[in-house]
Every structure is written in C-alpha cells, then in structure tokens.
C-alpha cells in the first residue's frame, strides 16, 4: 500500500485501525435502537399485501384482543396528521412523496397500512399477524415492459440534463468498427445488517428520535415539517450506523408514525421492522436498461458514443440516477448522444444506493468498451489508453486531475495481465475455465458545506463535534486523524462526537462527500485555534514573543516556531483565559456555486445538503478514478462462477485514513462481485411484489466466495478539489466491478452476458 503524501504533523495519511473498532467488537457501541428508555412500548408494522388498489376495510378486533396491545394506527386515525414534504431528490427531505396511512390508497407492495403498538415486541407481532385487511385490488404494473426498447418519454427540457455533443448518429453510421447492445441491471436492495429502526420519545413538546441516519439534520428538519413543529424541538440521535449504503439518507415514512404513536401513548415507542419489511419501507436500486452504441476508427479512437438509459420509478416520483452525466465524460469522443427515460410502475420509490448513477451506467459503458476491444482485436487496457482524456468531451472543461491510466498500469502489473491469452475460452485449470477481465471505476468528487466545533483543553485533549455520520466508513477515524494532525496532539487525545442533530450541522453521508467536507471544516476549526494561540503567543513575553504568528505550528503538544523555539500548549491556552479554547468553523467548498457560497450554511442548518457535484463545477470537472481486474473461474460442466482474485488500483487524492479507506475499497470490490453474480430482488410480475425478501434468498457473497482482494493506492495530489485535496472514495470501489466480472466471464467462455446478475443458467 502506498503511503500518500502527508502534511507536517503526519497524522493525516497514517494507517490507523478504526478508533471505534473496540467499541464495536465488544458490543459497547450504542446503535440507535440500543438506547435504553424506560417504559418503552413496541411497534410492529402491518404492510400491504397488494401493490395497487385501495383498502376496503381493516379489521382490528382480533388484534385488539391480544394481551398487551396498546394502540393501532391506521389511516382512519392518522389521516391528515402527517404533512406532505418535498422529496430529497427534489431538494426536500423524504425518500418518497407517497404518503402511507393518509388515505386508503395503496401505491406499492409492502406499504405501511397499520402500526400496532404493544407492551412487548412479541405481543405487537402477534397482533399484527391478526390484523385483517380487505383490499380492492387492481392490476399493477411491475416495472419495465417486456419489449425493448422501453417507451421513450417525452423529455421535459427543464428537468433534463442529457449531455450531448456533435452528431452521434451520423458518426455511428460511418464508423469503421461498431458495437451496439442492450444491457440490464436488476432491482437491488441495500440490506444493511442494522434494520430500519426508529425509537421516539417525547418530553413535553420536545421530540427525540433515535434512528440510524446518514443525515441527522435532514431527518430533524424533515420530521419537524411533517409534524408541523419548530425544528429546534426535534433532536435526532444516531452515533453509530450499522450499514446504510444510501438507504438511511432520506427520511422514510415510518418515522412520523412512530413519533405519532409515542405522542398518543405518552411513552417511548420503538420500532424494529423485519428484514422482509425493509424491502419496502426504505428505498432500493431500481432496475435499469441501457442501449449503448459505440463507433470507433480502426485505431480504436472513439468517434461516436450513444448511451440511452431507462429507469423504473414509482407512480408519483420522478426519481432517476441518470448516470450518463458520468458516462459522457469518461472517454474522448467528438460525438456523444445521451438520454435517460423514466418508466413509472406500481412500486415504492427507488433511492440512492452506493454509487447510484455509476454502478448501472458505467457497467453498461464498460461492457460495451470490452465488446469494442474485442471487435477491434485490441487489448482492453490499450483501448482505454487510446481514449483517455484530460477534458470533459462535452464542454472541454479540464479534469482537476485524472490518473486513470496510472491506475490501469499499476493494477495490470499486480494482476499479471500481460500473461493473459486474449482468446476467449483459452485459459483453464483442470475442469475450470479461467477468464480475466477489467474495467474502469470512477466517482465524482462531491463536496458540501459543513460545520465543526473543536475545543482544545490545556491538558492537550481535543474534542471534535460535528453532526457528521460514521456509517461504517471510518469517519470517526478520519476526523480524529485530521484533528490530531492539525492540533499536534496524539490521536488518543482526540474525542470525536458525531451523529447528533444538536451538534454543528454536516452534510448527508452520501455522494462520498463526507470526508472531504467534514475534514476541511475540522481543519479550519483547528487552524483557527492555532491562529488564536499563535496571536496570543507572539504578543506575550514568552519564548515566542515577536515571532510571525503565521509561522507557528502545533506539534507534539507544543506551539513551535520554525527556528525550534516553542511553548507548551498549556501555557499557550491558559494565556487566552480559563479552560479550553474553542472554535466553530463553517467550511464552504471552494468549488461551490455563488448561491451555495451565499446560502450554503443556511441550507445545511435547515437540513438540505447543498452538495456540489464533481461533474457540475464551474471551470473544471473533478473525479476519482480506479482500474479493476478480476479473475473468474467457471466449471466446464456445471457452470458455477467463482471469483478467486480481484485487484483494484485507485487514485483518490489525499488518503486521510488509509486503513479505513482500504476497507471501503475492499468492501466496494466485494460488493461489485455481489452485484455482478448474486444480488437481485425478484419481482412477481403478476402482482408487482418482491419475492426473495430476506437474506436467505437475497444472495450476497459469503466469506468462502471471496479469496484474494488487493487494493492499491496510486498517489495523487489535487488541490483544486478542496483545500485538503481529498477526493471521496466510499463509492468508488464498486463501480467498475460489474463490468470487470462480465468481461472476465466473456473471456472465460466466449459468452457475452449483458443482463445482470450472471448466473449458472446463463452459461449452460
């Protein structure tokens, strides 16, 4: 593993085991549903068994007989109690504009139709099973039409941002070499191990919500809007999150009902939905279809790129991920046409899932690139090299940095790519066919306004407070390293507090922006402390009297001048008054647009992320890159597909916390294998209902499926992206893997499988 370049103190970039690791493995970490609250009552959801129609009647008599039942919420008693709020994807708060229990209408399978509250979980569950709902059922539309292409929607010029340049169709007609194919990706669910729990408790008019969240300020403000409350009366607590992957970013409908139930009973109410219910009460990655047409000259230079995508959304919401934003700027090409269409169906509204846009769209493009390499008789790595670009081909804006080919070269070498026989089906080991494939990974470097409060005590202990989130990513560690580095104190001296809406606001832990946004805010606060201590020191008559305050650094518990003169921290702090010195920093991204520069902190305080995307910066584009190589083995008779080896090389600017960053990329690569070979939510098309809604049936790899995984960091310095030079990488790892696996399957068998996941039956 490469040690990225480091700052003075050298804590940023130091390999460090996650600082909350011990709490987690000893079970001491308090996840939101772990907080003990006296006199808690338990909620259990009743969810709809149809996807489209109306509730005719709800019979509660049998359920109410169950001993211990306290209350049952249905639309009859909650109607009008929850106000409609704009969806997150439209600049609001909620995952969906569907309002369950506001009317008898059923929009999708698994919609919440009743909430049973009882003295115990068991009683609530038993009673929930005894709630009988009668429906007026109508025939639902489950998703895509059977035909290809899907209907092309009439575009709405206001909402459309389909990047295009030149004349792709004509260039395609005249291209020397062409490929044209449809690709599909399936419905997928995040399935974080920690379920979608919510516990609400009221103290007078003050509501406290314990809920795993990727955005406590969003949750707080969203619930306040829904319940018509002053946001300052709502507090959200979520110090640890047991996996989220996007599913805990937006406010989902369940929360308000738990708050209502707690209010009605005047006692805390806890909800732990089942795994099966989790498929419907939160969001998911909708299935996608793609038409990709590539044209190239005989040397492999792209002359035409056409990428059209279709995505499923719910009836009322226009949710889409529109990854053409990324696939249109990946390679040099003079003629590009892209278009994204939404197909509405009787389904719950989809939402962000780890690399929402890149996973499906880059899969399609990178598969097509491999097909083009085959058509050209060219090595797939060389095809990427020939089409590498330092500018966005749509508008010629330069990349702030782009180390794609360095990643390819490092990964190819580690993988042993030069030993590959390009002939499909040519490599084997006994009865196992071997295939090697590769693909590009990329992810925009997004940054958002963030705030942090840092206090430094005379004894050298630091406290960092920000309403950021550690969703398992290692945020606690990255933030602590940043503070330790900037304050010149040992890591153990830094205490980080996250996941509480009473702390200074931070953006959603999504879009891989958190490390960049929050660490910059933390560094600013630390620098302010340094500045104040330095000003004090140079104007007092100590060791540092008369020094240039700008030259002083905090290091090893001292304030130090370049000539070696220093003053103990204690002295420097005490000089400023009693107790610790405190700074509250408000970081606004350098790349932010003028309105965000003006309003960004108002927005974030109101629970709106105001994130600037790496593809929409004014004068450049900023992305992290990677190259991924996989080996597949496929049994020649029974066609099981296994992945014994994965190598990924990544360039993502300054790596703040290499140990946890490596874990992110490792996990991403493994997830990529899951997504290529295992994960798919099956839908019964007759009724638009999810069928395999538990972890026994929704497959992900187990330990035995994953053998060697190597993560390589390619050093990269980029100070255009933000002051600290950080590019997010939480969602980078799983971007190229789908295509790399599919390309390897082609190499092993000569069979091009374009519909994911790839399973035994595809290769028989």
């Amino acid at each position: 593993m490469n040690a990225p370049t480091t700052f003075d103190g050298g804590m940023i970039g130091r390999p460090t085991p996650r600082i909350d690791g011990r709490l987690k493995v000893t079970g001491t970490a308090c996840y939101p549903s772990d907080f003990p609250l006296e006199d808690t009552a338990y909620a259990y959801l009743v969810t709809s068994a149809i996807a489209r129609g109306r509730i005719k009647a709800i019979h509660l008599e049998e359920a109410q007989q169950v001993e211990g039942v306290l209350d049952i919420l249905t639309y009859e008693n909650t109607k009008g109690k929850v106000r409609k709020v704009r969806a997150f994807s439209g600049g609001g708060y909620t995952s969906t504009t569907i309002m369950p229990m506001d009317s008898p209408k059923v929009w999708h399978d698994g919609q919440i139709v009743a909430v049973v509250v009882a003295e115990t979980y068991e009683a609530a569950r038993e009673a929930a099973h005894k709630v009988h709902v009668e429906y007026d059922e109508r025939k639902p539309k489950p998703g895509f039409d059977k035909r290809r292409p899907q209907p092309r929607q009439i575009s709405n010029p206001l909402s459309s941002s389909d990047p295009q340049t030149g004349d792709a169709e004509t260039a395609f007609q005249h291209a020397d070499v062409k490929v044209e194919a449809y690709y599909t990706t399936p419905t997928q669910h995040h399935n974080p191990i920690e379920l979608f729990t919510t516990t609400c408790t009221w103290s007078g008019d003050q509501l406290t919500i314990y809920e795993p969240s990727q955005f406590v300020h969003g949750l707080k403000n969203g619930v306040a809007k829904q319940l018509n409350m002053n946001p300052e009366k709502v507090r959200v607590i979520s110090p640890f999150v047991g996996g989220a992957f996007g599913s805990k970013a937006a406010l989902t409908p369940r929360t308000a009902f738990v708050a209502l139930a707690a209010k009605r009973l005047n006692r805390p109410v806890k909800l732990v939905p089942t795994r099966s219910q989790s498929f419907d009460v939160s969001t998911y990655r909708a299935e996608t279809q793609h038409l990709v047409k590539l044209g190239a000259d005989r040397n492999g230079r792209l002359t035409s790129l056409h990428h059209e995508g279709w995505e499923v959304s719910s009836r009322p919401d226009n949710y889409k991920v529109a990854g053409t934003e990324t696939t249109s700027l990946l390679y040099a090409c003079p003629n590009i046409y892209t278009k994204v269409h939404i197909v509405h169906a009787d389904r719950n509204t989809p939402g962000f899932m780890r690399s929402p846009a890149e996973v499906p769209y880059v899969y399609a493009l990178e598969s097509a690139m491999d097909e083009l390499a085959t058509a050209l008789g060219m090595d797939p790595v060389e095809l990427r090299r020939i089409n590498d670009t330092m500018v966005n081909p749509i508008d010629q804006k330069p990349y702030s940095s782009r180390a794609l080919m360095a990643c390819y070269d490092r990964a190819a070498e580690a993988f042993g790519w030069s030993k590959r026989n390009p002939e499909p089906g040519s490599m084997h080991d006994g009865d196992w066919l071997i295939g090697w494939g590769c693909a590009t990974a990329c992810y925009p470097t997004n940054v958002a306004p963030a705030q942090a409060r840092v206090t430094l005590a005379p004894n050298g202990r630091a406290r960092v407070q920000t309403a950021g989130h550690d969703i398992g990513t290692g945020a606690y560690t990255a933030i602590a390293l940043t503070a330790a580095d900037r304050l010149g104190v040992p890591l153990e001296n830094v205490n980080v507090e996250l996941g509480d809406s009473s702390l200074p606001p931070a953006p959603v832990a999504g879009g891989s922006n958190a490390t960049a946004s929050i660490c910059n805010a933390v560094a600013m606060a630390c620098d302010e402390i340094r500045e104040r201590l330095a000003q004090g020191a140079v104007h007092a008559d100590g060791q540092l009297a008369g020094a240039d305050p700008g030259d002083l650094r905090l290091s090893q518990g001292k304030l130090v001048a370049p000539d070696g003169k220093s003053e103990p921290l204690k002295e420097a702090i005490m000089r400023l008054g009693f107790g610790p010195v405190e700074a509250h920093a408000k970081y606004t991204p350098e790349i932010a647009s003028a309105p965000v520069k003006l309003m960004g902190h108002k927005l974030i305080e109101g629970g709106i992320s105001a994130m600037t995307s790496g593809s929409s910066v004014k004068d450049h584009v900023q992305y992290a890159f990677g190259a991924e190589f996989v080996e597949v083995r496929i049994h020649k008779r029974t066609r099981e597909i296994r992945v014994p080896r994965i190598v990924g090389a990544f360039a993502a600017g300054r790596i703040v916390s290499p140990t946890t960053a490596r874990s992110q990329l490792l996990g991403g690569l493994i997830w990529g294998v899951a997504s290529a070979l295992h994960e798919a939510t099956e839908i019964d098309e007759r009724v638009a209902r999810y069928v395999n809604d538990d972890l026994a049936e929704y497959l992900i790899p187990v330990c035995a499926d994953i053998k060697d995984v190597e993560v390589i960091f390619v050093p990269e310095e980029d100070h255009q992206v933000n002051a600290l030079g950080i590019k997010g990488l939480g969602e980078l790892g799983n971007v190229g893997t789908n295509a790399a696996v599919a390309n390897a399957v082609y190499h092993a068998t000569g069979r091009r499988i374009r519909d994911l996941p790839i399973r035994i039956e595809d290769l028989l």
């Binding site: 008779r637 099981e640 099956e682």
Partner: protein, 337 residues
C-alpha cells in the same frame, strides 16, 4: 409467532404419548417435536407454522444421538447433530457422501444445532410458502392454489411435481442416505417400524401439505446405513449460486460399486431439482453393467431427467441436473474404493 405451550420430554414413551393425541399428519400437527429448532422456530416466527404445543425432545439426547459404526454398517441417532456426524472419522472415511452432504449444508452454527431427523424433515424454502401474505399456497393452505406456478420459480422442482405444488425439497443429507440405501427407524404410538429412507417423503400429488409418511406422534429414532461395496466410493456434489451457506440449485449423491471400470452397482439420489429427495432409478439401470464412460454417464443423466417438467424460470434445471450427475459420476469413478 403465536403463543404456544412448551414441554420437555422425559422419555421416549412420554414424548410419543404427548404428541399422539392429535388427529392430523405430523408435519401439520398442533403438537410438534422440537429438536434443533432451526427450521421449526424459524417457521413459527414467520407465522407459517402455528403449533399449539412443542415437545422438546432434546432431553432424550443421550439415547437418541449415538453414532455406532461396526462391520455391518452405521447407526446414527435421530438427534445426533449434523456437525458431530459430519466430522466423525468413521463417517468421513467409509461413508464420504454422508459427511460431505452434511458439511456442505447450512452454516457451522446451524450444523451445531440441527439434528439429523430435523434435517431430513425440513420443509421447503419456496418463498411463497414462507411468506403468509401470499394467499395461494397449497402446502400451507390446502386448496388455495400455487403461486409458484407462473411466478418466481427458478429454485423450484422439475421432478416429482404436480399441478398443485412444485416446491423443491431443499435438504442434502436425505439424498446421501438414499444413495447408501439407508433405513429410518421410527417409534410411535403403535410401536416401532422401519422403512427405507426413500419411502419417508411423499410426492406432492394433490396433497402437498402432507410431506411424509410419519403418523401423528411418530419419532425418528435413528438411521441405519448398511456397509455395502458402494459406500466408500461415494460422493455428494452440490452446485449452488455461491460457495457456502446456500441450498443446492442441483445436487447429486452417488454411490458406486465399480470393478475394472465397469459399474457393478450404483445408487443415485438427486437434490435441488425434485419435490422429494429423488432416487434416480432409471439412471442407475442405464449404468449397471456398463463401463463408466462420459457417454454412458450422459445417457444415465438423460434417463434421470426424462420425466422432468419445467415452469419457466427453472427451464435450465434439467440441463444443469444432467451436467451435475455426469460430473458426479465421473468424479466418483476417480475415487479410491
């Protein structure tokens, strides 16, 4: 889950007495025996099984979980845990198909809890059966229909199906027992009886809710495996979507008595493709007396899947099943006897 009462059995007779008062067949009875509980409790939590009373037979562990291996064969107590049997040196050495089928099943934690009898009696993983919000499931609600026909049925059976149910029998161990011609020992209100393992499970026909031939109150006390020439040259091949902790998409238990490359005798049972642990008699007949070549193995596999009926998503299963059997037979032929 619904409230239920719980008793611990003190001896075999009282356990049987406790359970025999009921009218229905054992797998639907209001009184259920509790062994490892890994299937029963699971189904109770999701409201699929709603017994009124559980009779915990774990206190009988001393008498019901012995493993005896001698010159005549092997006797495995019905309450013996999967993991204990899987790693028993005699089983590993002389009855490899048994050991392999157990090691390849479920997960280490489950194998530590689960009993052999419970394993053999485990119920289908059909998603429609396991979720009560689906109205149509003849196995759960007789006469309600079958949602899997015309629905999501990639994992469903192609052999032994009926228009009323196409659910796959999900286990692995029963196939291994059948391949070794094992018998099951049963004690019930009417005394003891023994039947071949391949007579324990019932085809769905028009009563898919009746899964086996156990009468109310009958307990499986042991499995008896004869020491035959084929036992040592036996194996279990399990083909699945991931490397571990997953049910078979197709599997084959094969026991081969081979002399100079010629099949003297053979027993085959298939998993993942049939509604019950499926003995492939037709395939055995093709092989007997023939040299075990790839072509003969293929013909045997063709014969095994000749009666297959597919339902859309599982159209691939006969081909996969054939390939699985061919691979298993050729691999078995390479074993030391």
């Amino acid at each position: 889950m619904r409230p239920f009462s719980y008793d611990r059995a003190h001896d075999l007779a009282s356990a049987i007495r406790a359970a025999s008062a009921q009218v229905e067949v054992q797998n639907r009875a209001p009184i259920q025996f509790l062994a490892g509980g890994t299937n029963l409790l699971d189904l109770m939590k999701i409201d699929v099984m709603r017994p009124e009373r559980l009779v915990d037979i774990n206190p009988l562990e001393d008498s019901l979980s012995e493993i005896v291996a001698d010159g005549d064969g092997l006797r495995l107590g019905g309450l013996a845990r999967m993991s204990t049997v899987a790693h028993h040196p005699d089983v590993e050495k002389n009855y490899p198909v048994l050991s392999q089928s157990l090691k390849l099943a479920a997960s280490a934690q489950l194998r530590n809890m689960a009993s052999l009898a419970g394993n053999v009696l485990q119920r289908t993983r059909c998603s429609y059966f396991r979720d009560v919000s689906w109205g149509a499931c003849n196995k759960r609600e007789p006469g309600s229909g079958c949602a899997a026909i015309g629905g999501v049925n990639r994992k469903h059976a192609v052999l032994g199906t009926s228009p009323h149910c196409i659910a796959t029998y999900p286990g692995d161990f029963a196939q291994a027992l059948i391949a070794l011609d094992a018998t099951v020992e049963i004690t019930g209100p009417k005394g003891e009886r023994r039947i071949p393992v391949h007579e324990l499970h019932r085809l769905p026909g028009d009563t898919p809710h009746i899964e086996n031939t156990l009468a109310a109150g009958e307990i499986i006390t042991a499995f008896q495996i004869p020491r035959k020439a084929w036992a040592k040259r036996s194996l279990y091949l399990k083909v699945r979507d991931r490397e571990s902790y997953e049910f078979a998409v197709a599997s084959a238990a094969v026991a081969l008595d081979l002399a100079d490359g010629v099949v003297r005798d053979v027993r085959i049972a298939l998993g993942g493709v049939a509604t019950i642990p499926w003995r492939a008699v037709a395939a055995e007949e093709v092989l007997k007396g023939k040299p075990l070549t790839e072509d003969i193995a293929r013909s045997a596999a063709e014969a095994a899947f000749e009666p297959a009926r597919t339902h859309g998503e599982n159209d691939f299963k006969p081909e996969l099943g054939r390939n699985t059997l061919v691979r298993a037979l050729l691999d078995a032929a390479k074993l030391e006897a």
